[in-house]
């Protein structure tokens, strides 16, 4: 049973912006003490050396075995791992929570590199649905195309697809950047809450449908705007940010950024800013 009584003691965490609220029927409590940060670590993370490189052929492995092998190699200190023959297998490279240079020489199936926090990933082929779902940090570069739900619910990091992506790219996005060199399907940015999406090509119908917050930039044609999505003027800050990010992504150098269309949420969700103050959102 949740404690519904307000906590009147001001902690260091609260003075930094974290807060406890008493809402009707539910409690939003943040249990975090910065004094304990030095004791905080992810289980299953490793201190790896980028200069220590190895290759792993997963042709005859299922995804569980392949992921166990990757984990074993990280535990041995390998910081650069090249995966051979992924052949569209699902759920490869998931749950990596430390720095790592991970290279797939081929294509991934569904849920590739999901729930990662920190690695730099290069996929030299294509990825299926829900690539990098729930990614917290790091950089993922897809050299070819991606399926639907690309970057679903990512919280941070840079997710880049040099080709085209399917429907619902950035669905439920909560932070980070998604950058697409080609076209994107319907419902791009569906229910996005924070972060940025950049589509250099055309985008399908219902762009930004039900988006709470965040920003979408489109270089090509837009099929239609979704409910709540509206166009906003491009600013100098937008162009500076795009210039920096596209340079990192190594795409779009020939694009006239001033001609891109900027899309934001046209509605203010009830109580949303109270839960996530605007100045705090800007910090991500």
């Amino acid at each position: 049973m949740a404690n519904l009584k307000p906590d009147t003691k001001k902690t260091k965490a609260q003075s930094m912006g974290m807060h406890t609220e008493v809402l009707t029927g539910k409690t939003q409590q943040k249990f975090f003490n910065p004094d304990e940060a030095e004791n905080f670590f992810y289980w299953g993370t490793y201190d790896v050396d980028f200069n220590k490189r190895t290759e792993l052929d997963v042709k005859d492995m299922d995804c569980k075995l392949a992921n166990e092998k990757i984990d074993r190699l990280m535990s041995e200190g390998y910081g650069t791992i090249v995966i051979k023959n992924p052949q569209g297998k699902h759920s490869l490279g998931v749950g990596i929570l430390n720095k790592l240079n991970l290279i797939f020489e081929g294509s991934l199936g569904y849920f590739g590199v999901g729930s990662i926090d920190g690695p730099i990933v290069t996929v030299k082929g294509r990825v299926g649905w829900s690539c990098a779902e729930n990614m917290m940090a790091g950089k993922v570069v897809i050299e070819k195309n991606a399926g639907s739900c690309f970057g679903a619910a990512i919280r941070g990091g840079d997710l880049i697809c040099k080709g085209s992506v399917g429907a619902r790219t950035g669905i439920d996005q909560k932070g980070g950047s998604i950058i697409v060199g080609g076209d994107a399907g319907a419902f791009t940015g569906f229910m996005m809450q924070r972060g940025r999406i950049v589509i250099l090509g055309d985008v399908g119908i219902n762009l930004g449908d039900s988006m709470y917050d965040g920003t979408i930039y489109v270089g090509g044609k837009i099929g239609s705007f979704g409910s709540d999505a509206v166009e906003a003027p491009m600013t100098k800050n937008d162009i500076e940010w795009l210039t920096r990010k596209l340079k990192v992504a190594e795409i779009g150098s020939n694009i006239d950024l001033s001609k891109m269309t900027k899309i934001v949420s046209g509605k203010k969700l009830w109580n949303y800013d109270a839960l996530e103050p605007t100045e705090k959102k800007g910090a991500i």
Binding site: G88, G109, G125, R126, N145, A146, A167, G185, A186, I205
Partner: protein, 313 residues
Amino acid sequence: MCGIAGLIHRGKTSNVGKELQDMLQALKHRGPDSTGYALYANNDGQNFIMRFKVGENVGEGSTSVNEDESVYDERKKLVNQKLSDLGASIVKEEKLTPYSYRYEIKFDKDLMDFSKAIESIESVEILSIGKSLELIKDLGDATAVSERYGLSKVQGTHGIGHARMATESGVDIKSAHPFWGYPFADVSVVHNGQLTNYWNNRRVLENKGMRFMSECDSELIAVFLAEKMRNGATLEEGMKQSLTGLDGVFTYFVATKDSLGMAKDTMAAKPLVLYESDDLVAMGSEEIAIRSILPQEIDTYDPFDGEVKVWQI
């Protein structure tokens, strides 16, 4: 959730039976209840191939009622009598399982009247009629069905297949895919998704004289397309009309004697991965289906929402 796969060789024939078997076996986790194949084989094109069943497979987790096999023989005799009455002659007769047959027949009249007469016999269902279409569906995974019907050596130009997870109707052959595009020779359909205006469409189509053999929502696609084509639409036109005429989420494939098509609903809610080269198009619910026949590194992509594509052999 079901898995679908399809391929078409352009300008040549190949071992499509084995290729489709491998693709569907790779998708077994999407649908273990039944597997179906619509193979477009190198037949001589002179006679119709009619595949039909006189009962259900009652083993392998079937939801069908068990019947004495002696009724199957009786029904088969009635089919032969009907064929004779309709003026059709049997060139070749093959019993594939206790409940399914493959006939090669000579017939040159209306297929709708023909089909109605054959299917007026209790529990008899025509699975397909065509001059190149060989439609096989049964309970079990892709390998089991292929071995049961000897499909691994079938040579042809193209084919579509389905690995079914039964959700809204029973585990039986009549609800398994592919569905024949009754009453058109050589038309077949497989589907992944759910149609939400099935009964509305079914009532309208039945009033127009179209026939449904199951309560599987996917059968609607075959009937819907057949009705459009019956009224003069091309296959591609009918498929484009299906994007608004059918409600729900779907990715489906349709094949004719010389073409293969795909359509994806406007929500793009069901997956499809596509590989296309000058001489081969291969597609499936997951990339691993394509990789089962093309293990080398290839370029694939997801078709967009509301997309319809048709390829010729």
